[in-house]
Subunit: 207 residues, 2 copies
């Protein structure tokens, strides 16, 4: 099921809500008030209510939210039920960190392949994944790998993205600090940590 | 100068605008229409106008924006003029990737110190930075390092944050996939890549 006209900003916040709710569940808390949830997540109560309003009414006035129900609903909205296979391109320091990263599984992602151009790396096995030559990227469609994670150097990012699109991926997580241009139906999420770091000084007292 | 009542979401978008505008400047483009800028950045024109409206009027009707002026204004708003010294805690794969990352400089950040608990790493020199024992974190204030970058394992993140706060940092960039609790005046930005990856399936066709 795909919900229409949901603002990107809401879709951006849903995973944050989900992470918070999941940690409440782990603590054994099964219901929470609108205000309690807002405080826990560090956002405004009206923001949460507005975001949830796009999907119908999740809470009950005076009772609040059922945490487990909410987790299920958000996972459904985000289509996190399925397992998505992902391929990593670029096995430098960042790539190695991503291969070791445990956070993917929580959201139904599985990194099942890794590619590099460096002949010294090709053939090596890391976390049960054998690093392949980038020329093998063309096999992704056959292997039902629909997500690409780009951890290649900046200058190789655009070409890598185009290769991934040709290989049939539907989504790209881009760690190179640059714009990537792909056909509109392919969703690209660029993670540029400098973008986050650049927000910090604004909140800091003069130094 | 600190502007008040600016929504976090606007502050979140300003670095994205800045990055786009800087890349326009690099291409030699000195003015751009509101719509042109929106298309280039992949956001709605009304969003840009609304975000800029918090700071006064940047554009001229019928003429558009002067790119260089806009870059200067946004850098000023984000207080990016100064050089901020940052310390990295945790020199694993992710930490190594961060030490090599060139994107910090663009926003006036300089990673000048790195810390780890592993005696095999302490004393090693990476990109001109000698890895120090975490016990040295207490020297940050004296060294005028006001930002901490946590790339430590999840279970060490909270303790690391507390140590950083005691050492006088004003902002923390947290790469551990967990919540960190610190006094309200310290700004924490957590980068959990799974949060971004979790948004991808929503935009993808059923697979």
């Amino acid at each position: 099921m795909r919900y229409h006209k949901i603002p990107d900003e809401t879709v951006r916040r849903l995973p944050l809500y989900l992470r918070g709710l999941q940690s409440l569940l782990e603590k054994g808390q099964n219901s929470i008030s609108s205000k309690g949830l807002a405080d826990f997540l560090g956002v405004n109560p009206w923001q949460i209510r507005k975001d949830f309003s796009y999907f119908g009414d999740f809470g009950t006035r005076g009772v609040g939210y059922k945490v487990e129900h909410l987790v299920k609903q958000i996972r459904k909205i985000l289509k996190l039920g399925a397992v998505h296979k992902a391929a990593l391109i670029g096995v430098g320091n960042l790539g190695l960190a991503l291969l070791a990263y445990q956070g993917f599984k929580v959201y139904g992602f599985e990194v099942v392949a890794a590619f590099d151009v460096d002949s010294k790396k090709i053939g090596k096995k890391i976390n049960n994944i054998t690093i392949e030559n980038v020329s093998n990227i063309k096999t992704l469609k056959k292997r039902k790998i629909s997500l690409g994670i780009i951890a290649a150097p900046r200058e190789a990012a655009q070409e890598t993205a185009e290769t991934l699109v040709k290989a049939g991926v539907k989504g790209i997580l881009n760690f190179s600090p640059c714009y990537i241009t792909v056909p509109g139906k392919i969703k690209v999420i660029t993670i540029d940590i400098a973008m986050d770091l650049a927000r910090l000084p604004y909140y800091m007292p003069s130094c």
